[in-house]
Amino acid sequence: MSPAFASMKRAAEQPMQYAADWKARTGRKVVGLLPMHFPGELAHAAGCLPVVLQDDAEPVTVGQANVFNFYCGLNRSLIDQTMRGNFDGLDAIMFGDHCVQLLGTADVIRAERPSLPILFNQLCTTLDANWALRETLGTFEQLWKELEDLTGHEITTSSTLASIRLFNRSRAQMRRLYEMRRRGEIAISGRDMQTVVKSSMVMDRAEHVALMDELFAALPRQVGSSSDITVYLSGHMCHAPKPAIIDAIEESGARVVNDDLYVGWRFIHADMDESLPPIEAMARWYLDKNRKLPCPTRTMQGIDWEDYLLGEVERSQARGLIVLMVKFCEPHMYFYPEIKEAFDRAGIPHLLIETEHEEMPMEALKTRIETFVEIAKRRADSKAA
């Protein structure tokens, strides 16, 4: 393991510890971001450390007092972490999403930590409405003001543009890594890829960019085994799947070549336009998201997630699709049948794995994955023949 990757791993595994160290070192504020569409660039431009709040591996215990067990693992974990004091180092939370479960979670956090500011500015959810641009610009202007109030400093246009450039560079680095994996130039595991993206969500971006440069220099150029079956991972739209699930997939003779996971390609797929005024760049980045990678929590006619997946699976030369569905994730539950039927029609094998925050029966899961890999292999062989 390279020193650069080891640093990323530490930050990814203990994001709040990293944030506390950063705060002690810089004397600046740490702003938590609730997923999934709010730009960290603005908090960065305000001199803060934006940290995407993650679920942790701890089972939900004290949090059970404030959340029903039929909520997704991310929400239950965020509430649990709040009650365990994990987020006490935060100076504010930025939040603009629409998922009904996250709205409730934000309210629980406010009730448990009334002195922690939550900068809530709900984004327009109908991305192709004729008022969407106007409304989104207004939302970010409001957030801009609130961040200035939080820090007591003016946020300048030039600092915001610099943050946009930095974040674009960071995303471009990670996309390059994805492309190298897709082309088979490197053999990076799904677990390690998750570490790279997750660490970018929580680290000082300039530090992460420097670590990525080191990582590229140290990465051994090698290809995965040609006997591996290539698969595409889809789902987990707000937080990372358990690394053990990705390990189980790869240990079953599959090689992950691409994904649309939030802690993955979804987080890094699109840049902001550096030639536009920063507010407009952020607004357009948000409004164009679905055209580039559809999200079922946003309304946009003519843009279909399953079409995107079919195209990306083909582009990635994946032989199968594995859908990782977070238990109780309503947006995903609505759209899974659409994906399933599209892949059935296209004759591409797919496997649904419902994931849970608490321990999962990994041995039973392995059997299912191994069966799927066998099916995908046979299908690929018969196609080749």
Binding site: F68, A111, E135, Q301, E330, P331
Partner: protein, 456 residues
């Protein structure tokens, strides 16, 4: 409905819980007029295509005045699912949804409605309209397909996704219009119930979208929208809403002359029935009956001893069942978040000369579209007004919109010396309801309220 499956369901729900004193709820008789109105409304829906009317499918808030004023027929997905559940006819639609792969944890309103759409599509695809022999389908055979889809969901993100699926099930051809009714988070220093910068900003934002809705309706019908007619429609609605609130306020009396369950069955006239003289007559009748009961000292629950507040979405499979259940322990559920904090609950905001802003504001103040502190503050006001002893939270399994904040609501009840309890169930999926769980918790709650009184 003659299927053996439905017979089983009906046999179960036709019985009454063996519990407590055996008393039944003393239901208002005037609400029966609502059943006629509801039946007339659905018959009108079923006849829409024959009468050459265009049909809008919509979900979310009480937006039909726009459709009524434009001579459209409207179908509310939630109302349809609730009606099927209330009549114990939901099983077939849910089974069809299951078959396509919709997870059981998904909103049961949506699962039922989508399942029905799939049945309709099956029918349409079958050559020569092959008959579906299963009698469970009977109630689902008449719903006219949409010419337009309108989504106007406050708070709950699930509603938008549900309508997106509707759009897709009908081949992505039906014009769809989505109104965003944003949450009033209430984080700014001037925030309060119907006040502050956020309130005014968001009111205007929703009002602007409602104007856009009228343009969408014009574009898809080729007819100009008649704003004068909208004002006329809102005149009836405003009057009915005022009568409803007056009737509710009269239930401060002991014993309360009407209960939450009477207001539950009065939701349809306020939520989705046509805005005409009938709904005024309905609430006039309800108010008159309440007045008579008040004069006679007659309560909705015989020997009312405890007064409760109901939090959460309704369990439509169990309306009568629950009404009796509480009556059997001499507890009157006097008010509820769903009934008393929604459905044109601020009629004074509606200016009949220019009603749109006031309509937008009523949509914004739906019972869960405020952040928890303001919403709970409003619940506390209701609990104080009606002198509530305890808060009952229905943890409706697939409705996160109403279960969010329920632990905070229970906490607030206890803070002010009220008992609080939870029971599990769902809006339209009976399988999540656990009768014995409610029995033991309700008994314990009654014991606690009694002990508190003895100690006082």
């Amino acid at each position: 409905m003659g299927s053996h499956v439905m017979d089983n369901v009906v046999a179960m729900t036709g019985s009454r819980p063996v519990f407590g004193t055996g008393e039944r709820a003393n239901k208002l008789k005037s609400t029966r007029f609502g059943s006629k109105l509801v039946n007339d409304y659905w018959n009108g829906v079923f006849a829409a295509k024959e009468e050459g009317k265009k049909v809008v499918w919509y979900n979310g808030t009480y937006i039909p005045p726009f459709f009524h004023s434009h001579d459209l027929v409207w179908v509310h997905g939630e109302a349809w699912s609730a009606m099927l559940a209330a009549r114990h006819q939901e099983v077939g639609a849910q089974a069809r949804g299951d078959q396509r792969g919709y997870d059981r944890e998904l909103c049961s309103y949506a699962r039922t409605h989508i399942g029905q759409m799939l049945i309709e599509m099956d029918k349409a695809r079958a050559e020569g309209g092959a008959a579906l022999e299963d009698p469970r389908m009977e109630a689902m055979m008449k719903l006219p397909p949409p010419d337009m889809i309108v989504n106007a969901y406050p708070y709950c993100s699930s509603g938008q996704q549900w309508d997106d699926i509707t759009y897709r099930v009908f081949g992505k051809k039906v014009p769809m219009f989505t109104i965003q009714i944003p949450l009033l988070w209430g984080g700014r220093s001037d925030a309060g119930y119907m006040q502050g910068e956020e309130w005014h900003q968001r009111s205007r934002y929703v009002a602007d979208q409602l104007i856009e809705l009228t343009r969408f309706l014009e574009a898809n019908t080729g007819r100009k929208f008649d704003f004068d007619r909208l004002s006329d429609t809102m005149g009836y609605i405003k009057k009915a809403a005022e009568l409803r609130l007056e009737g509710m306020e009269m239930c401060k009396a002991r014993p309360a002359p009407a209960s939450f369950f009477d207001w539950i069955v009065s939701i349809a006239p306020m939520s989705f029935l046509p805005g005409d003289q009938n709904i005024v007559d309905y609430f006039q009748g309800v108010k008159e009956e309440i007045t008579q009961r008040l004069l006679a000292g007659e309560g909705a629950v015989k020997n009312e001893k405890y007064r409760l507040f109901f939090d959460g979405m309704m369990n439509w499979n169990k309306v009568g069942w629950l009404a009796d259940k509480f009556a059997q322990v001499n507890a009157c559920v006097v008010a509820g978040r769903y009934t008393h904090m929604s459905f044109w609950q601020e009629p004074q905001l509606i200016d009949l000369k220019d009603p749109i802003l006031g309509m937008a504001q009523n949509y914004l103040v739906c019972p869960n579209n405020h952040g928890a502190p303001i919403m709970i503050g409003e619940i506390e006001k209701h609990c104080d007004y009606y002198e509530i002893d305890g808060v009952v939270c229905h943890a409706s399994r697939t409705c996160r919109g109403m279960t969010n904040s329920q632990f905070l609501i229970a906490g607030s009840a206890k803070k002010y010396g009220r008992q609080a309890m939870f029971f599990e169930g769902d809006v339209a999926d009976e399988s999540f309801y656990k009768d014995e769980l409610l029995n033991v918790r309700l008994e314990a709650m009654v014991e606690a309220m009694e002990a508190k009184r003895r100690a006082a």
